[in-house]
Each structure stands twice: as C-alpha cells, then as structure tokens.
C-alpha cells in the first residue's frame, strides 16, 4: 500500500520536475541574482565587483531621474488603462448583448484584435516616421489647414506621451475586450432573463449582474495590465531616441534600467537596483488590488444573496 502510494506520488513529482527545474533556472534564479547584483557595483566591462551595500538605491533617490521615470510610467499606464478598460467593457457589452444581437461579432473581434499582432518595433518605427518633421502627419495637417506651419511633434511632451498612450491603448484594447467577452458569455443567460422579468434596466443588469460576476476577470486584467504597464519598454524606447526623449518625458522604469545597463561600462548593479524597486512597487500594488477587490462575501455571508448564489452554484467561482 505504502509502496504504491509512493510510486503514485513519485510519478506525480516526475511530471512536476520539468516545470520546477524551469522555474528555478529561469524564474527564481534571475530574481535572486538581480537582488544580489543590486547590492554590488558590477559592470559588464570589468570582471570583478564589490559589495557596496545600498549605495545603488541611495543614488537612485539622490536625483529626480528615478522618481521621474516612475511618474512617467504611472502616468502613461493610467492614461492608457482607463480608456482601454472602458472601451473594451462597452464593446464587449454590445457584442454579447442578447437584445442587440450584433451580426458578425467574430469579424469585429478579429479586427479589433489585429493591432495586437503587430510587432511593437514596427509600430513604433511607423509612428516615428509618420510624425517626423518632414513626415506625412505634418504634410496632412498643414495642407488641410489644421496647422499654420509644420510642427515638431516628437519634441512636444504632450504629443509624444499621447502617442505612446494611443499606441498602447490601440494595441491592447482588443485583447482586453476578448477576455471580457469570454467572461461575459460565461455568465448564465437565465440570470439576465430573470432580471428582465423583474423589470431591471440595462444599466441595473450591468452593475448588479455583469460586473459582480466579472470581478475575477477584471482583477486578472487589472493585475496583468499593471505588471505589463510597469514594464512598458518597447514602444517608448523605439518611438524616439531610446532615452525617453523629449525631455525624458517617456522615460519609463524599464528604459531607465536599460540605460543604466547599456551605459558606457554597462552598470548592471545599478540597473538591477532599478529592477528590484520596480518589482517591490508592482508587488505591493498588485497585492493591494487583490486586498481591495477581495470577495467580502466570504468574510460575512449575506443571506440576501443566497438565492443568487444557489442558482449559480454549479459555476465554479473564486
């Protein structure tokens, strides 16, 4: 008996080992190594490095470069996330609506998702060429009379940040919409039918049925978007000069980290300290989101919701 149990277990462990090895080598080790590097003055161009305590972190806070990068990242992410989730919610409500029954949902969904398939490098290079001083955007704006003379778009902080926000929104709202639609179609239709019989308005159905049952999906979107947003790199890096020009206004956390890594001697220690701080910041925010949006019903079960819970009992939900 014991033997077979062990055998059973060992087979299970055997199946787990590839993942665990992969995780240890490609997941845990880099994190631990980054942490270790952040306390050294290691560079790529020298073979030896020394432990320098928290000097790297002190330097990050000695001037406003790091704080500015964090501010830029948050600003660009928030400006992109709010319209992204708003439009994705609106579109997915329309597309899944049992009343409207929009035709060709699959086609629309594919069209909205398409920008996500484009290479960020190509998109950034495209926008860089479009908005160059002698580029098509200027030609159009001046000839159509919107501008009196050519404008230096990519030297304007507002325009450049706006472009990054737009590209991020444009490439990601389709993805968000698809996830939301998947979540919405999994909500049992009888719930809506019952609400309609009770005379609920569309808005009431949205806030009382759709949103609460969509909460796990929303948390997922929120957290993955936050993690992605805090690591925003390719578009702002390639849109201008790779240093967050103009005036470092699109210099994000990861661009700063990359700049330190790619600087003359390759200061990987200093770059690692940026990575560690971003990791801590993102972790705290993600945990905060989980805490704020946690299922309060589990703490204090409300009798009023019982009927709804029972109806929904076959649906696994957490």
């Amino acid at each position: 008996m014991n033997f077979t149990q062990l055998k059973k277990n060992s087979t299970g462990y055997l199946f787990l080992t590839p993942f665990i090895i992969g995780f240890l080598v490609f997941g845990l080790y880099p994190v631990v190594n980054t942490l270790a590097l952040s306390f050294t003055d290691a560079t790529l161009m020298s073979r030896s490095s020394h432990f320098i305590g928290i000097d790297n972190f002190k330097r990050l806070f000695a001037d406003n470069v790091f704080i500015r990068a964090v501010g830029n990242t948050w600003l660009i992410w928030i400006c992109n996330f709010i319209p992204q989730i708003g439009i994705a919610l609106l579109l997915s409500v329309l597309f899944t609506s049992a009343r409207l029954k929009i035709k060709g949902v699959g086609v629309w969904r594919a069209i909205y998702y398409l920008p996500n398939l484009l290479m960020p490098a190509a998109v950034a290079a495209l926008f860089n060429a479009l908005f160059a001083y002698y580029g098509p955007a200027n030609q159009f704006m001046v000839r159509a009379g919107f501008l009196s003379e050519a404008m230096r778009f990519l030297e304007s902080i507002t325009v450049t940040r706006g472009l990054v926000v737009f590209i991020q929104w444009w490439t990601w709202f389709g993805q968000t919409m698809i996830i939301l639609m998947a979540g919405m179609t999994s909500i049992p239709i009888p719930l809506y039918e019952a609400a309609m019989v009770d005379g609920a308005s569309v808005w009431q159905m949205f806030t009382r049925i759709t949103l609460p049952l969509l909460k796990p999906i929303l948390i997922f979107i929120f957290v993955t978007s936050l993690v992605g947003g805090m690591q925003m790199f390719d578009i702002p890096f390639l849109l201008t000069d790779g240093r967050g020009s103009p005036l470092s206004s699109i210099q994000t956390n990861n661009i700063l980290m990359y700049m330190k890594f790619a600087s003359s001697k390759g200061h990987i220690g200093a770059a690692a300290s940026v990575g560690v701080l971003v990791f801590i910041m993102t972790s705290i925010c993600a945990l905060g989101i989980f805490y704020i949006l946690r299922d309060r019903d589990l703490d204090q079960p409300k009798p009023a919701r019982k009927s709804l819970d029972k109806k929904n009992a076959e649906r696994p939900q957490s």
């Binding site: 790529l44 161009m45 020298s46 073979r47 330097r59 001037d63 470069v65 060429a129 160059a132 001083y133 002698y134 580029g135 200027n138 030609q139 704006m141 001046v142 000839r143 501008l147 003379e149 050519a150 230096r152 030297e155 304007s156 890096f237 390639l238 000069d241 790779g242 240093r243 020009s245 103009p246 005036l247 470092s248 990359y258 700049m259 330190k260 890594f261 790619a262 600087s263 003359s264 001697k265 390759g266 200061h267 200093a270």
Partner: protein, 468 residues
Amino acid sequence: MKKKLSVLFALLIIASMILSACGGGAPAQPKELKGTLNVWSFTNEIKTMAIAFQGKHPDVKVVYTMIPMTNGEYQTKVKAAAGTSDSPDVVALEAAFVKEWVESDLLANLNDLVPLTKDLKTYPAVVQVGTYDGVTKGFSYQATPGAFFYRRSIAKECLGTDDLDKVQAMVADMDKFVETAAKIKACGTGDYYTVGTGGEMFLPFLSNRSQPWIVDNTLVIDPKIVEYVHFAKMMRDNGYESGATQWTEGWFAGMNDTLKDANGTPKKVFSYFLPTWGLPYVLSPNSTPKDGGAGTGGDWAMINGPMAYQWGGTWVGVLEGSPNSELAKEFVKFVALDEENLTNWATGVYTNEYLKAIDPTTPDDQQQAAGDFVSSQVVVEKITKSFDKSTLADFLGGENSYGAFAKAAPSVNGALLTGSDDAIQRALNDPLAAYLSGTMTEAEMWAAWLDAVRSEFPDLTIPEAPVK
C-alpha cells in the same frame, strides 16, 4: 624495476610529444588556417572582407552577425556577450565606443601586429585610437578625415562660382561660413538651406576641442562645445538649416533634391558635412531619388570646409579568451593590415560576382564599391591616381576625392577619443533638440544634460554649467 623503467619511458615519450607539439606550432607559419570564426559587426561592410578571407583560406568558416547600432543596440549586445560562451571572436568597434573597449580588459593584446603598421605606414591617429597604456588592441582599415560637400549648381547661382578654391575661401572659417549661409538663404528666398541639420556640424566642433571629455575623472566642457551649441541655435533661428533630423528621411531627401516642406514647397540643401565613408555610403547612394528622377550625381564638389575634423571609423579587435585567438588575429591582420586586401577593398575589386564565386550564398547587394579611404598611406599613395577617372570622380564633377582625403588624413588627431564619449554625446542630443526648438532655455539645457551625464556616470565629477 623493469616496470618502473617502462613508466619512466612512457613519461619521457609523453613529455617529448608535448614538447614537439609546442615547438612545432611556432615555425609552421604557412600552415593552412582552419576553424570557425564568429565575427560581429554593426554594418555589413566587414562581411565582404569575411567572404574574401574565406576565399584565401578555404578551410575557414566565418559566421558573420550584423546587429544595427540604432539606439546603442549593438554596443549593448556585445557588452552582454563578452566573457560568456556566446562571445564572438572578433568584434567591430565604432569610433564612438572603440575606446571604451580598448580601455577595458576585454580585448586581447595585439601588440605583435604593430610592426606591420610601420610597413604599411598606417596613419598614426588610427593606431593611437586602438592603443591604451602602450597596448594596441584594435586596428582599422579606414582613416576617416572629414570633408565638406556642396552642390555646384547652387554655388554658381548664389555664390557666383563653383570653383573649389574660391568656395573654400568663402567657407574658410566659421565667420565666413555664416556669411555664406546668409547669402545662400537670401538667394534662394528662404527655400535654400545651407546644411540639412545642425547635428552634422557637431563632429567638426568636437574634433577641434583642446581636451577630451574626461580628464582626471572630471567632465570637461570644452569652449568648443559651448560654441557649437550657440552655433547650432543660430543656424536654426536664422533658418540656415532645414530642421530635419540627421539620418531620417528629410535629411536624406535633401541629398537628391526631393525635400519638400509640409506645404509641398521644394527646398534645397546646399551642403553636407560628411567624412570619407560618407561619400560612398551616404551621399552617393542617396543622390538618386527612390521613385526615379534625375538625382544630383555630378553636381557635387568636395572641399575641406571650415574646420579639419574626423568622423567615425571602424576598428576590429579580438575578444580576450576567444578559443580561436590565432585565427581571429589572422582575420584582424587581413582586414586592417594586409596591403592586397586594402587595395582590393578601396578599388572596387570585391564585386558581387567576386564574392559569389567564393560563397554562392552571398546576398545580391553584398559588395564593396570603390572609394573607401583606407588607413595605409602606402596603399593610398599607390591607388590615388586610379581615382582620376572613376564613378566617384564623375559624381563629384570630375574631382578626385581620394587625393583630397589623402591631404587631410595626416592632420587627424586620435587623442581626443575616450571610452565615455558615446554616452556623454548621446545624452546631449535630447536637451539640445529642446533648446533648438525653443522648449528649453540654454540654462535648462545645460542642467538637463549634466543631470543625464551624472545619472550615467555616478563617480564622475561634474563641473558647473557654462550658463546658469
């Protein structure tokens, strides 16, 4: 006893074998080269030489990797790979960052190739750049003195002559250059620009500093740098430059007369500051419009311009710890210190057919047109005559560019380059652009630049800004 003796014999045999192996390696110079060599570069130029090298040594296989230099991507990749198992054997290093590598302990000592530079009379500045603390770690096949290219038709129209000496006299120093710029603007009623960007004039100012960027771990803001900033601002404010960004469509469009402003008004660019390699790689290929049209070939002339300067250049070095260091050294020798190869390189022997005969998989656009200015004075003297009648001479209205470069090459100074140049100079671009377009004051510009330098070089002493 017998056993002990046999062990002793065995040991002796092994020892003699090892000794003979060691001794045999050195004198076997003409031994056929063998092996695989990993070469990394930021353009496809050296690939041509790599194929030619394989033609000389059929048992050698060169694996060539090209990583573009855009936004410092190449520099980062090489730094990250050095010292790991992915490390290339030979790396190409551009002038902006070659010193960084020569000053590090990551490049192998190539001092035993230095005598060859005496035979070839390699320009001293070229060797100087590849040397640090008496150890030479990089060699170059190029010397890169700068020049000033102008449109003959515009010179005739606005300055009354396209004669080389007369135009040179009109741009002989910066004051005269500005006077000429004003003339060109007035004559073209604002549709003629003297230069495409202020940025291309950075190198002339940079080459004429009295001190490098870093002295005694302190950043040096040379008066020439301050002068450049004021000069660039003046050029922009007076409309003497087109406002295009260097290396973008607008800048290239000026070379083939297709530059149009946002209203569709055609604009012309009178001149470009470009070095030796700028002629065959930048100006000449871009002189024909992409969508057909006459182009500007034959309408160009080349003179020294207001200041002697140098710009760019590619050095090659061997990475320390390369398992193929002997082969790698042979490759460096072939690329930079081989008279036959340098002659072939500069005179257009390496055509696409030539390369395809060696390696049939050579891409159709891989070739080396005649005209690159090589680092060996011996070769330069031998081949200068051959450029009297060439496609490049036709491009320049009959002028022999090679002869002009040969005059400028010995004046180049290699002592101003340091390992931190790239990062310091790249940090200036963004604040300077903001100052030129008026979104920053001069004081803000200097402060922003010094902040950026401080952030990248935590240990460097940063002086006061020139303007506060």
